[in-house]
């Protein structure tokens, strides 16, 4: 049998998977009594609803024509680079200070698109760093180091 609407199918499977995981992990959460519903009640209800919705979508994706998952471009390069940029900022900001975190994360982000012009990026980064230091550290008084040696 050929899949007719892979977008719906994928969304359906995602919902079913999350629902099943929620039930599996939440299996030992106390259910409590009718008068005092416990920790596990609402998650259980929601998880089953999620599985139900997911099942409908999965079936729909199998038998009804719909948009394909592969329609349109998958923007792997921006997705990976933007994510890495966020991670780089998180790893650098405490030890490396604001400027290092900014320069590295912004450069990684710039790698996400072929349109980047590096000279322009250089000027832009300098301006952004100055603005950020003035605005967030001097202005709002956020306790972040400017440079690693501060």
């Amino acid at each position: 049998m050929r899949v007719k609407g892979s977008q719906d199918l994928a969304a359906g499977l995602m919902f079913v998977l999350v629902g099943a995981l929620a039930i599996r992990i939440g299996a030992d959460y106390p259910v409590g009594s009718w008068q005092r519903p416990g920790t596990g009640v609402l998650p259980l209800i929601l998880a089953w609803c999620l599985i139900g919705v997911g099942a409908i979508l999965t079936i729909k994706g199998m038998i009804l024509h719909g948009p394909s998952l592969l329609e349109g471009q998958w923007a792997w390069r921006p997705v990976i680079m933007v994510t890495l940029a966020g991670i780089a900022f998180a790893l650098l900001v405490d030890e490396g200070g604001l400027v290092a975190a900014m320069v590295v994360s912004m450069a990684i982000c710039a790698l996400g698109t072929p349109e980047t012009r590096w000279k322009e990026f250089g000027y832009f980064t300098v301006i952004m760093c100055v603005v950020a230091v003035i605005m967030f550290i001097k202005g709002l008084g956020m306790p972040i180091k400017v440079f690693p040696w501060n």
Binding site: F15, Y29, C49, V82, G86, C109
Partner: protein, 502 residues
Amino acid sequence: MELSDLFSNLALGFSVAATPGNLFWCLMGALVGTAIGVLPGVGPVATMALLLPTTYYLPPEGALIMLAGIYYGAQYGGSTTAILINLPGESSSVVTVLDGYQMAKQGRAGAALAIAAIGSFFAGCVATVAIAVAAPPLTKVAQQFAPADYCSLMVLGLVFAIVLARGSVVKALGMVFLGMLLGLVGTDVNTGNLRYTFGISDLFDGIGFVPLVMGLFGMAEIMANMTNTERRDLVTSKVTGLMPTWEDLKTSAMSVLRGTILGGFLGILPGGGAVLASFSSYTLEKKLAKDPSRFGKGAIEGVAGPESANNAAAQTSFIPMLTLGIPSNAVMAMMIGGMMIHGIVPGPQVMTERPGLFWGMIASMWLGNLMLIVLNLPMIGLWVRMLMVPYRLMSIAILFFCCIGVYSLNNSANEVLFIAVFGILGYFFFKLDCEPAPLLLGFILGPLLEVYMRRAMLLSRGDAMVFIERPLSLSFLILAAILLTIVLLPNIRKAREVAFVE
């Protein structure tokens, strides 16, 4: 309600809103709102998320006044882009493109911009009064609600959000459930048990609202927009003749009025808001026009109606948030996030406990609208120049503001890691055609629903019938069931799809 009460309330509001500090934040909000409204690909939700951490440093009045300004400011800005470069700056100005750009091509950009601004201003004034009139009685009603009523009302709200969301109903339903589940992560406040924390200590207090929205809306937006490198062609670099002719004003007066009423009404509905309002208004204007074929070729009614409607709806959508504490769309969820940062619990008690904040915010909307119409038209040159900033630089700036914004909340680098995760998640939702807005509403309402459900069950001594024994609760549930059935019926679903495509 007494008319004198209305005046004394508004007087209190203006006395709060007109302090220099609050006027400044109102102006900032309106300006930032216009700026992001002008820029395609940067929406009010993402911007409010970006600025949410900063509002922590402001007094609560200033913070909420500024956040509100961003939303209605964005409605003004969105039309500028739509008219001048044939691209909607905001999703609520998609229909403005149709006739606005045609007007600009015919050399009437000035008239189109002016009528959009005038219509928005008129709608803004009416909507401000509507909020002031409607809020106190609604608040009184809300104060009579029992926990069971609240619980059912939230269910109804979520159903509305699903029905009015764009795209697949089933997917929206799934996103609501997913959002509610995400909202339950962390410590269960009633029992102290941990849920779905995977032993990560940063999750013990639950998933942060700010990292979630910044990831889903900010980071995911950059990822999606970095691939399409659209060209921006300005129709004219110079806008002349800003004053519309007498003829223009006469033609569009009724459209503005109809748009305001329609938008004002649709804004109150959960899941409604600016986008739905502008679409409906355009359809209405086209239906009512003597010569519908003029539409799409530069009919001024096609600009006046939707632009008034989206602004009216943007403002009246504050009504359920202010009176019931229930967000009707993603932007209102953000407003609630702003309140919670300042330790204000949203709900009917805000009006009685913090009247200065409540009425100050309403009064600020009128002041903000006034500022927008005065500042906007002369500043169009500046906004146009801003459109020249290429997206490759804009995306980098947005990324940085996402990171620093989340970090500044708790000085926690781990929360910055969360936005990276939610960013990928948001991109997958985008590719799966799952709208993130219902997820956000579920995220806010999930934990609230649980609190009220537990209270209701405790009060009824474990009798689940309480939800259908109380008339108010029963009617909410019946309404929700009817809505859900209707929207799932095949032929109505087709009609709905057609309506959204139009």
